[in-house]
């Protein structure tokens, strides 16, 4: 006995269930909507740190208590308008070098190499880089993180789990020597720590060719690339010298010390809208 002619739902649903292509198309449309609604606007709205070729970053306006908008070049470093015009260099420090508080800048060659090691070792699985706007997080870690601070982070590193503490503002909090000791054998410094020993980073030299290529890749990103005015031809050409003789340990420490001190946050300014 067949009852295949009978509708158990609606005629439309019944038609869908009989036609493979129709069901495929409708399903493909249904699963696409959510992503389009949530993702696409983030490339056009303010407060999303889309600063590509746009000094206003999609018209982002962080306002102070008087309601005055903070100029975006106070938040995102612009060598054309800043008093400091060059990326900081360990090999050849200049008085014109970027200083903490000058605004968000891309990573230096050594920091870039360190960031690669950071990703390789899966550090982000236990250490977040995203401070939320809560009192306890402010007391523990510092000012809440803002969108602009991760605009050059290709593959963001906000993390999802704090098995260890947040490190969004760890830069400058400890000395290089502390980091070196702690990274090598964490339990020598913090007995309760469950972090693996990363002593082997000291044995690995930095690959200068790879670092140079990474900087080039960063200028080619389709969204938020590092401007050519920052990674200039000469900076990229000098990258190998910046990492010469450095180990992965030096690089990771340089990366950690660069985290979270780029922007000078002012009292009373709402940086979230």
């Amino acid at each position: 006995m067949s009852d295949h002619g009978k509708f158990y739902s609606t005629k439309f649903q019944d038609t869908i269930e009989r036609k493979t292509v129709l069901m495929f198309v409708l399903t493909a449309v249904a699963v696409a909507v959510g992503g389009i609604v949530e993702i696409v606007p983030l490339f056009y709205l303010p407060n999303t740190a889309m600063c590509q070729n746009d000094p206003t970053c999609n018209n982002t306006q962080h306002k102070d208590l008087q309601g005055n908008a903070i100029p975006m070049d106070k938040i995102v470093w612009n060598p054309k308008t800043s008093a400091h015009t060059t990326l900081p260099s360990l090999a050849n420090p200049q008085p014109t070098d970027w200083q903490p508080g000058d605004g968000v800048r891309p990573y230096t060659a050594l920091e870039t190499a360190g960031r690669q090691v950071f990703i390789r070792e899966g550090c982000f699985l236990c250490h977040s880089q995203m401070i939320r706007p809560f009192r306890d997080e402010k007391d523990r870690y510092g000012h809440y993180s803002i969108a602009e601070e991760s605009m050059y982070d290709h593959t963001y590193q906000w993390g999802s789990k704090r098995t260890g503490p947040d490190i969004a503002r760890v830069g400058g909090k400890y000395s290089d020597e502390w980091h070196r000791k702690h990274l090598k054998y964490p339990r020598d410094v913090v007995p309760e720590s469950v972090m693996p020993n990363f002593f082997f980073l000291e044995k690995n030299p930095i690959d200068a060719v790879k670092t140079t290529k990474t900087l080039e890749v960063m200028t080619k990103m389709p969204f938020n690339p590092v401007p050519k005015t920052i990674y200039t031809e000469s900076y990229i050409a000098g990258a190998a010298k910046e990492v010469e003789g450095k180990t992965e340990m030096d690089a990771v420490i340089a990366y950690l010390q660069s985290l979270g001190n780029h922007v000078k946050f002012e009292e009373g300014v709402n940086y979230r809208d």
Binding site: S2, H4, V37, E38, I39, R120, E121, M130, M218
Partner: protein, 476 residues
């Protein structure tokens, strides 16, 4: 119609047999690595100062092994099984199915090699290097294309509900994988996502929640809608509920990822939208769970004797529980406490161990009996596996819930002087007993996977032996 069904269809079941065996092996391997990484957090000396086995490199191997190796093989085994039987047709291409099998296993082998070497793209659940991502896309499409073409050549009039879910899952995973994995390579080992900061975070969690969630939900609901009716011998409780379940979940699930980014630098509306839809998802999820449970109406007594049914029904209970847990965690005020803590890990494992593994185990036992046309080597061992899996999963999840909430409360606690009560490291040492408990729970669960592998292998051997005897008898 009837005339067509009268001629028996010779299904392509060898491919299903291989995927099923692979799934049993990966269940053991994936959970074993999980036990090891969990133990590393409880006893850090287990990192043994060997870079390749430190937590940061092994944890992605654990997640990839359980999700893509175990989960993937279960999905492909059940997918190819269901699509043939519900459509009364062979596969569109058996050759392409074998390409999928070997391709998928090659990818798993490459994951085992590259992840411990530290080849990570730095995106959770999408760590594999760019060239493996391309291979995943190709092999996945081979699976999806074959699957949909097989639906196309079915000889039944309607597409069965399981196939809707699996097809939806295949389409969605394709979108998510392709968009999230777009990257510019530096060399063979390293590449960088073309997105950065806020946009990358949103895209990553659009992938991270929805891919893992829909992969481990959509496809496994397909399993539920086929194997629960089959095993219990009862029709699906409500066809209309399954229509509602499918369309609402398919449309809604992909919005949820944003709830991972509450109170971050992502604009507030995005997270709130994700949370609102997450809450709404309780309705289809519970509707679906009820649909699975109520399918047993009139057959509840079978739970006493049918151990396979126990797996399937317990899975529905965990599905209902974790689809309640999830939306609650998406609420902003709860998320403020739960985010960054072990509660999230507990939630994931309530779903992964309780729902998706349990329904997989049930489906595997059901299929093994049909595929080799035999009874299980030991029904008692199926029952033992059930209780061990249940105890292991519960131990794990309870440990993580308690530690997660405790962590969250310790971090935000203030003393009478208005200063933070606990340093961070005090919260780390407070976690130790729970991390041990988690590792023990995981180890118990892993033991269950070994039992299943043993039982399945013995069943297959027994079936082959019987076949051999028959062959000899026939000659004589």
């Amino acid at each position: 119609m009837e005339a067509k069904l009268a001629t028996p269809v010779k299904y392509d079941m060898d491919i299903v047999r291989w995927f099923t065996i692979a799934a049993c092996i990966y269940a053991v391997v994936g959970t074993l690595i999980g036990v090891y990484v969990a133990s590393e957090l409880a006893f850090p000396f287990l990192n043994f100062d060997i870079p390749e086995i430190t937590f940061g490199r092994l944890r992605p191997l654990h997640t990839n092994a359980v999700i893509f190796a175990f989960g993937g093989c279960v999905l492909m085994a059940t997918g190819f099984y269901i699509v043939q039987r519900t459509g009364a047709t062979k596969l569109w291409s058996n050759t392409l199915a074998w390409f999928t099998f070997w391709g998928w296993n090659l990818i798993i082998v490459l994951a085992v090699i590259t992840l411990p070497l530290g080849l990570s793209e730095g995106k959770e659940y999408a760590e594999l290097p760019w060239w493996v991502d391309i291979m995943i896309a190709v092999v996945w499409l081979s699976y999806g294309f074959n699957y949909i073409m097989t639906i196309g050549i079915r000889t039944t009039s309607h597409i069965y509900v399981s196939n809707w879910f699996t097809m939806g899952m295949i389409v969605m995973i394709t979108y998510l994988h392709v968009v999230n994995s777009l990257a510019i390579p530096v060399d063979w080992a390293t590449s960088y996502s073309i997105y950065s900061g806020v946009q990358d975070a949103m895209i990553q969690w659009w992938w991270g929640h929805n891919a893992v969630g829909f992969y481990l939900t959509g496809g496994f609901l397909g399993i539920m809608y086929y194997f629960i009716p089959k095993q219990s011998g009862r029709p699906v409780f409500s066809y209309r509920l399954s229509v509602l379940h499918f369309w609402t979940l398919t449309f809604g699930y992909v919005w949820l990822g944003a709830h991972h980014l509450q109170y971050t630098a992502l604009p507030d509306w995005t997270g709130s939208l994700g949370a609102a839809i997450s809450l709404a998802m309780i309705i289809p999820s519970w509707g679906g769970a009820m649909n699975g449970m109520m399918t047993l109406s009139g057959a509840w007594d079978k739970l006493r004797t049918d151990y396979i049914l126990r797996f399937l029904v317990t899975a529905m209970a965990f599905y209902a529980m974790s689809t309640f847990d999830g939306p609650v965690m998406a609420i902003k005020s709860v998320n403020a406490l739960s985010h960054y803590t072990d509660w999230t890990v507990g939630h994931v494992h309530a779903g992964a161990l309780g729902w998706m593994s349990m329904i997989s185990f049930g489906a595997i036992y059901h299929m093994v009996k049909k595929l080799w046309n035999t009874e299980m080597y030991s029904d008692r061992l199926v029952n033992v596996h059930f209780w061990i899996a249940l105890i292991g999963a519960t131990t794990y999840v309870v440990a993580m819930w308690v530690s997660g909430i405790m962590q969250g409360l310790m971090w935000r606690d203030y003393d009478e002087f208005g200063t933070l009560t606990y340093t961070f490291v005090e919260s780390v040492s407070a976690m130790h007993p729970y991390y041990v408990m988690r590792a023990v729970g995981g180890a118990i669960f892993n033991l269950g996977a070994w039992i299943m592998l043993y039982n399945v292998v013995m069943t297959v051997r027994q079936a082959s032996a019987v076949r051999g005897v028959n062959a000899v008898a026939a000659k004589a």
